[in-house]
Amino acid sequence: MLFSSPIFLFLFLPLVLAGNFALPTRWRNAWLLGASLLFYGWGEPIFALFMLLSIGANWVFGLSVQRLRDRPSRAKAVVALAVVFNLGLLGYFKYADFVWEQLGLALHALGVIDGPLPRAGILLGDSEFVTTNLITQAGAIRLPIGISFFTFHALSYVIDIYRRDSDAQQNPVGFALYLSLFPQLIAGPILRYKDIAPQLSTRKVTLDGFAYGVRRFVVGLGKKCLIANVCFVPVDRIFALGAGELTTELAWIGITCYCLHLFYDFSGYSDMAIGLGHMVGFRFRENFDMPFVSRSITEFWRRWHISLSTWFRDYLYISLGGNRVAAWRASFNLILTFTLCGLWHGASWNFLIFGFLHGVLLVLERRPAFARVLEWPVLPHLYVLGVLVVSWVLFNCRDLAHAGWFLGALGGAGEFSSVLHPIGRHMQPVHWCALVAGVFFALPYASRLAAWRDGVIASSARSPRAQALQVARTAALFLLFWFSAAELAGSTFNPFVYFRF
């Protein structure tokens, strides 16, 4: 189920909120757990069982690590087992196809086999259960939604206990809720157990907390429905154009819309997750902080998908020795961490190169000469935007060849004539509006305006100006909600030309 779907917004959410407030406090975890499993299993019930398996195994790992804390080598062995179990599942579901395919290509290149290997999923057999639940039509392994997120939640849990940052959750319902809590289940922010543990046993929904949650949720919904989804319409069409059809101007419009789509889609989801968390009493980490104002890639990763970059920092980079090793080794650690961070986004060479590129740039940015350049005016922003454009071309292209000629088109090597694909064919006024709004709200002006408004309210909440600002904000949120709902309804609007045709 998705937040931006009518069934979530107008059925699931009101029922969950109603149940959460109607039930006594001691039943709320069980209620939210049930809702979360329903939310997760809605589209693919089989994977709810898989989620339960992961919950059971990691709960046992956590208890075992806690019990063996006084015997570090054994505790470490259990942590290793948990890492192998969780990364094994992630590796199997997310990367086995890719690795298998690369193996086949390598064996073919070496002349060991005549043609490509069959898809990895074929190895599971051809029973009805397998073909309907576990593999795709093409024989690829089906990916449980959100696996990358809850695998990291599980790892954070076991490692936090091992590091004595928190104690194991004795109550299986509490632990299951941590792993499956629906607001953050399928697209983050990535939780740390130590942050959530106290909230699993004691949390309070306050009036201002709930109102804050509503505001974040509605803003997130608006970002997703009114900017991200609208910007994606031209993206979908422009990235589908062939090499001989793509003009340079279309390539730039396409990548700009894609940048905005990616940012508003993801940050909108995070806003909704944080808002929903507040509505049921949870506090999650912030995940975005105006990433497009960054002056370096290092700064960008402090502002973009913060919960992921800090997870990699805390659980991988630091575990590899972090900065407390020789300079060359620290550089290696950084590149390795970001290459794996790239691979976390998906199993393809595009993501691997994306991560590697960012790792290398982070190492370079530590060089004094480079750091000095980053202090110049304007240029650092252009540098960051340039890197992001290249990165996100890699993100959205089918393969490296596609990325190659798309980048070529951006560089001016696109189709010269635009008669076949004029801009108007792909960009209606509504798309231009979403693009302009997207650019405006990605810059600091809107948040400065919000900060000014909050300052006025905080200084004298009952003054006429503060009252007017609050009324205006509530009205704006109300309109934002209903315009977003109209876009959601529009996504179900599917007119046919002729009934009988």
Partner: protein, 526 residues
Amino acid sequence: MSTAGRTSTPKHDIVLIVLFVASLVAPVIDMCVRPMEARTPTVELRTPAPVPTLEPTLESVATLPVRVESWWKDFFGLRDLLIGMRSYTYWYGLRSSPTPEVLRGKHGWVFFDGNENIACDRGASPLSTQEVDAWVKLLGARRAWLEARGIKQLYAFVPSKLLVYPEEAPEWVKILGPSRLEQVLAKLDPSWNADVVYVKEGQLAEKQADTPDDPAWFPLGTHFCDRGAFRAYGEIMAKLHEHFPSLSPEPKSNFKSMPAPRQGDTWAKRFYLDHVMLQSIKVLVPTAPRHAVALGGLPDNPRSDQDRLDGARGDEPRILVFHDSNAERLRPFLSEHFREVLWIWRSDFDIDLVESWKPDLVLFLFGDRFFLLTSPTLDPRIQDVKSDFDAASEILLSFDPVKNQPPLVPQEGALVEPRDGATWIWTPGASDTVLLPRFEPPPGKTPYLHLSIDSPWETDLHLMFQTHAEPSWARRRAMPVGLHPGLNEVYLALSTPDLNGALLLRPGRRGGKYRVLALELRAAGE
């Protein structure tokens, strides 16, 4: 950690929460207050999702969420009002079209762009030379087949609205070359002169008489109004006169032009804006008595309609019309001239029907889109694809229907189930499809497909294919085949170059249970 710093007073927080909760439950309240019929999406001209039911089977339980969500998407409260609000904002506020199916032209004129219709109309998506040749070959084979049975034929083509009103199209729409139809017409030799009529010039002339309340075409629709239709009718009758000298069109004085009591062809209803988005049009009301009587459709063919002339002399011809939506406004005029008219709304040629009904003439009445939506696919009894298939030796795909292996994969709401020695495909509606197992197209060879399929009714099967250059599903990369109730042996030549091996099958326009008994792909040729 995200924090809820105090940036509002409790009074404003309460107002916000009340508004939010009220907004969340408003659709459910609407569902309790207004009847379901008031919210039905049938104005979108499609079959709404059925009410989900739960059977005591694992499959039913497993698919329940998908079915519930499909139903909810179609019937959740306030849906119609929300879509109307969105359409209004798009159309009037942002001067954009709320659906990719149509473009918003100048002065709010609607232009159809489903299946990239506009690209085809403006010559940006032309047929290849091979495709044009394949069409000419197909039309020739069909003509020979009809002539051998003593049946006359006429192709009447209606231009797209864009070709009649290019000045009303959005600024970026420039005509680059001939449309697909015009490409094919240019390739037909003079022997076709008596058998083809393209009514574009007449429509351009008729447009000159437009007034704000009497356009020749519907500004908010995609077809001609009565006045444009009457002009086309005159041109078609002139051609029919060459085949049947006793036929001549009625004079326009037999009709009176009056303001239309209804909106007619308009997208406003589909935008849920029928009370807001209005157009001024006129209709032609007959002043003389009418003689054609509508008899309804054939029993087994939901896409058929029949007209019979009341008090016919007996020497009037009987005609069979294969048509698209352009026939709707021509029907009242044309039916007055024939002893019987059988109207069949389908784009392919049903030879069984021709042989059983034995018309004096077959009229093919289509718009420009005919060459966008269909491929030059002949019935195997006219073009012997079966022999080509039988002669092909290289097997590309062999499907086991007993086990559904390699599997047919259901898309949208379709279900696939191997049972009783066959693979069953259950489709709730026209948009439900199954992916066929992917195959490797051998370079330089033509793949031939054989499908043995049991259909519950008279319908059309569509086989869609992708190319490396266009790896997506589109109606213009689809081959339609007519299916009869019972077992059908379908043979198709996939002669389009650059296939990437992906195939999508829509068993029929009508939902139902289709049984696949055999599926095989072979390749032949160099």
